[in-house]
Subunit: 272 residues, 4 copies
């Protein structure tokens, strides 16, 4: 299995397909494994680079608390070791925050940016939400943890229609999530505590697509409005009837946007 | 202080002003005291009947678990004892659920209905949210309880702009909330667990105003769309830039709607 | 019938009820007669001052082209002759534009402001719409004029459900609208051509309520967003399922807001 | 140049690229030429079949009035003559109406459906709008015609920012549009007068993507909500900050969706 030593940590990654290199950056409870359903479709057109950042999936755990800036440095080293000098960066939620920080620091390495269900700023409300998630994680109890996080992550529509599936996942995760996992989750949540790129967004000059979901209550679309207004010439699309986890709730709409955007950025479409 | 013995329980209520009797039904963490800022304005035109239902404010605690139907019966007895045969019913969130149930059972006693930031159905997502709130309440820890409930109750905008005030309230509530309060809260939350009036909404024939808030994430506006489509000839208005606690975030917009609606229902405004 | 000589023109007005004086400023095809359905309700609480501005209803026609600034001056003289030194100003669409200009010039005479379905700026798109309405008016043909204006003024929902009533109005207006009316309409439309208060909105310090309609296509809610962001501490409410002519489509919601707002502005509602 | 004789009329078409065949159906003022800016990008992945239906672009004019059903039959014959047995159908506005009718009659020939800024029903409001457009067309005057149609077709934002370009187009079209063009436009507008597929939408079983624009005032998003609720398992995405002519206002967002959707429909993306 492909691991690379990055800043003295073992970082797990996967590559699928050929073509333009697109880096997938996970949301906070996600890992490379979360993208399995999308590999066949996406890798038919582009090269998919999945990566577990520190404290995610199969990669090493952190030794201590950190900020998202650490992910930026590790991602840069990983890309250099893989000899990728310019990639498309696509991040979901937490991953979209890392993507912004990366683009602001190493913009020369970025061809385009896709920011899905994310924010430029961990505001007071999110900090309190983080505090409640942190508390739920300290219980190491999957039932408490799920009831504290899932109603925000999935839309009420998806929740209602897929309740059995969600409860099945709760049971499965209850078996997998161990103390180490919960402590990693807590460090990850804290690493975004002071995120604030709002005032620097205008420095992002690469083609950028922003994806919102109509029913997202963790990062409601007003957060993406800040991204849209801040990033020059950014594009903004909304998936109807979906919550924060739009990739799972509306996989076709989601993949259409991501695959289509990577394809169109290769071209100059001139109307005027 | 005005108490009435209702179904063997002491129920606290207040009356302010003269005119059309409007019953205010509290949201789940609210009490008669929550309406203090509105008394002067509202009672200048209409009679305000504030009431602490069982497990709320200064009224008695319940002996056991119950459903919202119990509130309906107690409210009916209270109104009869006060000799009010027909009133306007105005409920916020939890109180709006009680108001629907009352209107469905004792519609002859209802002149008009105002349903603010509420739902006709406790869906799976809300039941899980209830579970997380229940868990937070079992800790009897105001910090845990606040971080689990407040980010949903206030909009992120209000949160950001009024953080000091919210933290001050957290401290105050931490002093007031005792074990008894938390246990009352838990019973109240559970009492709505099986609420579902959706299929019966078409039976509500009294003039009805539905109030939504743009940024409400606890009862997003799609829940009120169900109310609007279900209740014949209902009216629907949205307060911009407000969260679930619209009465506190946007007191003037909120009071304009409530006071104005009670006033206009007295008249027949014929356009065609 | 009450007329006053203002700047050498006969201006028609009506007064109904007692209390706070609220001036109603008409939309472009409206007149004092348009408010008839609302008189009984509104005048039960406040004093309603209806007025036909130049080229409207029973008032004199203009001799020449003019801008909305002329209305401002005439309104000021009218108020002075009626001995009203401080009034609430409520304007719909075109009337809301006049209200803004009045508030910017004679703010001392304004207690509060209600701006419904209006804009701070006649942009290029509106100027072209004005051009098409102007053309339709030159035909002096009610069928052409109605088909050019009505689909924008009423929401498609209202249109569908009230088609017979709309067609009946088309026939009635066809009998009433004469060459003089159409020429007055054309002058009125042109008088707003260069309206732009956007940069001065922050000077408006009086309590202000902004009313939007969900399905308004003539002044979509993004125009009111400009008002909301520009006017300090303004309040913003949206009427669901209504078009530009919200007062006719949703009379109860509309009147609740207007009557309620005038009432609440008398009070200091302090939450914090 | 490629023409085919279809039902005794010369029909113009173009083919670009290789791969899945995607038929582009024009909006009412559009022609094959309108798609020029998109050919390079789109044809890099899929085969683009552009076609001028009767009364459009370089194809023959109709001899008489007709309904959109005639387009359906002609399109079917065209596809058969080209030996295409199963295609993706993508229609914008008027073209989206034709696409629905085609899918309902010849669903076996349809692999997937993309419906952009369109409706299932020409309601009373649209019929009156059609009446005003028809009137404007009878003048054969580009200035009248443009001011009657353009403010509805482009969003006010695009209008404001691209006014010079729009005025330039008005001038160019004024040179090109002759009596024959205007008469063709009038027949086309009338051909949709009685469209109503609403009750039959549930019969559409092919993968369907619905595209809305936030600021579309000709076919506001409530029309697409009808499509979304009617067509089983349809997907629904909204382009922010765009009007009815989303393909021109937001070409990258638009092309991302169309290209991406055609690509993803080839795959089975299984989340659960």
């Amino acid at each position: 299995m492909p691991y690379l030593e990055v800043m003295d940590k073992k970082i797990y990654y996967e590559e699928h397909g050929k073509g333009e290199v697109v880096v997938f950056l996970n949301g906070i409870m996600m890992s490379t494994a979360s993208w399995a359903p999308f590999i066949k479709a996406f890798s038919s057109q582009h090269k998919m680079l999945l990566v577990d950042l520190l404290d995610q999936g199969r990669s090493d755990k952190a030794d201590d608390e950190y900020t998202q800036d650490l992910h930026v440095e590790m991602l840069k080293e990983l890309l250099e070791k893989l000899n990728y000098h310019k990639v498309h960066l696509f991040g979901v939620s937490y991953g979209g925050e890392v993507a912004q920080l990366f683009a602001l620091k190493y913009q020369d390495m970025v061809k385009s940016l896709i920011l899905s269900n994310t924010t430029s700023y961990t505001d007071r409300s999110m900090q309190d939400l983080e505090r409640s998630w942190d508390y739920a994680a300290t219980t190491h109890d999957a039932s408490v943890f799920f009831s504290s996080t899932m109603p925000g992550i999935y839309s009420y529509k998806f929740y209602e229609e897929n309740y059995e599936w969600l409860k099945e996942r709760e049971i499965q995760f209850g078996k997998i999530f161990d103390e180490e996992w919960y402590e990693g989750f807590r460090r990850a949540a804290k690493s975004a505590h002071n995120l604030n790129t709002t005032e620097r967004l205008q420095k992002i000059k690469v083609p950028t697509l922003i994806i919102s979901s109509e029913l997202d209550t963790v990062t409601p679309l007003k957060y993406q409005e800040v991204l849209y207004k801040g990033i020059p010439n950014s594009k903004w699309v909304l998936i109807k009837d979906a919550g924060h986890a739009s990739m799972y709730e509306k996989p076709y709409e989601f993949m259409s946007l991501v695959m289509g955007f990577i394809s169109t950025t290769q071209f100059d479409i001139k109307i005027k």
